[in-house]
């Protein structure tokens, strides 16, 4: 189980840091009545904005209706989900609306979303909490006119270290002082990422030393992944592999496709790569970068102990690549020779005429006077059509 989930605060008092903003939110909630301005929580990721909204709903016995970055937040969708809540409270109990990462509402994918949110904010009949990482964009300026803003701040590193030490104590785990310091510094006030990295370190394949923080290159990453002795070890390698997600997917794809393995494994792995590719496609299309956190979890399915998979840069086997590279060049020169006389395009020649030409040569209907290398490729192609 992820430590960030295991140690997710159970009540507002369990959160660490940002005491003043927490107090402001609780006071707002205690005083809340119809017509009061909704609340916007602004602050860097991983400091507990979402957790706080969830806890406050739970502790005040509200039914939380939340829209996060993975939902489509277009005008139509927002109205479909939230308008019934605003109109029929008795059916929905005591609802509270939480719109997470409101600064991530996308102009195109979530067309009309911001306007729909502003309309709801102005006519709020239930408590509404919004959360955003930044309030500086133009759309946030428009939203801010209708809300009361509470600023959250990153945590001081020493407080982070204090909290992390508590978790390590509860887990009966140890990390060297150097690594602890580096971990806290690199988290930059983000509790969630700090806890995740600490877990990766503790359960990871390397002893918790300075070196384990080194970012692996793609070759080292894929090879270490398949050499790992456990899923936990493979997971920590995946987390260390900080490269472009597209390159990560490609690296696994090319390594798998060029390795010798049984058909069932290959089928399973390609299915996983396909899921990862679809997720990344969705992220790129909708700019919901929040979903990126699930990519490694999907790719972890590619791990199986003692598989002979090693990193390979090319997504085709060497004989096929060789054929494309060398035979392709010869076919190209053959093509250039014929297209002028036959008055056809290169693509027409290669897709239609070449096949007929080969059959004619094979059946000795025509005798081509070509140099040796081109004769050779024609013979090779004839062999293939057999």
């Amino acid at each position: 189980m992820m430590w960030s989930e295991k140690y997710r605060p159970k009540n507002i008092l369990d959160l660490v840091g940002n005491e003043e903003p927490r107090k402001l939110l609780v006071e707002w909630f205690t005083k809340w009545k119809k017509g009061m301005k909704p609340i916007l929580l602004v602050g860097p990721p991983g400091i507990g904005k979402t957790t706080l909204a969830n806890l406050i709903a739970k502790q005040y016995n509200y039914d939380l209706i939340s829209l996060n970055a993975s939902d489509v937040r277009s005008k139509q969708n927002i109205q479909e989900i939230l308008n019934p809540v605003l109109g029929n409270q008795t059916i929905f109990g005591t609802p509270m609306i939480f719109i997470d990462e409101v600064d991530g509402v996308h102009g195109r994918a979530d067309y009309g979303g911001v306007e729909a949110i502003i309309k709801i904010l102005k006519e709020s009949t239930v408590p509404i909490i919004l959360a955003a990482n930044s309030d500086l964009s133009k759309k946030m300026q428009n939203i801010k006119k209708s809300v009361q803003t509470i600023q959250f701040r990153p945590l001081p590193p020493r407080l982070l270290l204090f909290y992390l030490n508590k978790i390590l104590q509860l887990e009966d785990a140890k990390i060297s002082t150097d690594s602890l310091m580096k971990l806290v510094k690199e988290s930059r006030g983000d509790i969630r990422s700090m806890i995740n990295f600490a877990q990766a370190l503790v359960t990871g394949y390397n002893p918790p030393t300075e070196k384990s923080f080194e970012v692996l290159d793609v070759e080292g990453g894929v090879n270490s992944f398949y050499k790992s002795n456990s899923v936990d070890e493979a997971r920590s390698i995946l987390y260390s592999l900080r490269i472009n997600p597209r390159d990560k997917i490609n690296a696994f794809y090319s390594s798998i496709i060029t390795s010798k393995m049984n058909v069932d494994d290959m089928q399973k792995f390609l299915q996983i790569i396909s899921s990862a590719d679809m997720l990344y496609g969705k992220i790129m299309k909708t700019q919901q970068w929040r979903l990126l956190r699930y990519l490694d979890a999907i790719l972890l399915g590619l791990y199986k102990k003692n598989l002979p998979i090693r990193y390979s840069k090319y997504n085709l086997s060497w004989p096929i690549l060789n054929r494309i590279r060398w035979d392709g060049a010869k076919i190209k020169s053959l093509m250039e020779l014929f297209v002028k006389d036959m008055h056809v395009s290169k693509s027409t020649f290669s897709s239609i005429c070449l096949g007929f030409l080969l059959f004619c040569v094979k059946n000795k209907k025509i005798d081509l006077e070509l140099d040796e290398s081109l004769q050779e490729i024609i013979q090779k192609e004839i062999e293939l059509i057999k």
Binding site: K23, V26, P156, L159
Partner: protein, 106 residues
């Protein structure tokens, strides 16, 4: 944490004083953190220890380079309180005492 001097395109909220940084004014901006007034950037108040109420000892803190005092959450812990026995429980009790409103029992 690097701060870039910018001419504000829109109104923003200073993360130090919580006041407006108006559009067209000069502000200091850091990605993922926010903006602050130039004047506020010069202030360098030490953090307070939530447990004992004294100063947190930022000058001698091992994280002094990484900790942007104007940006981070205002209450930290001092070395002495950190080394107390059951310091985490002590921390929670201190938060409860100073912010009783957070101790919701509903």
């Amino acid at each position: 944490m690097s701060w870039i001097k910018i001419t504000m395109k829109f109104d923003g909220t200073c993360i130090v004083c919580n006041q407006k940084v108006k559009a067209k004014d000069i502000g200091l901006w850091s990605k993922g953190v926010g903006v602050k007034h130039e004047k506020c950037a010069e202030k360098n108040e030490e953090l307070k220890c939530i447990m004992c109420g004294g100063l947190a000892g930022c000058i001698s803190c091992e994280f002094i380079k990484e900790c942007d005092l104007q940006v981070v959450s205002k209450l930290c812990i001092c070395k002495k309180c950190e080394q107390e026995q059951n310091s985490f429980d002590f921390y929670k009790n201190s938060v409860m005492k100073k912010f009783p409103v957070l101790n919701l029992k509903i």
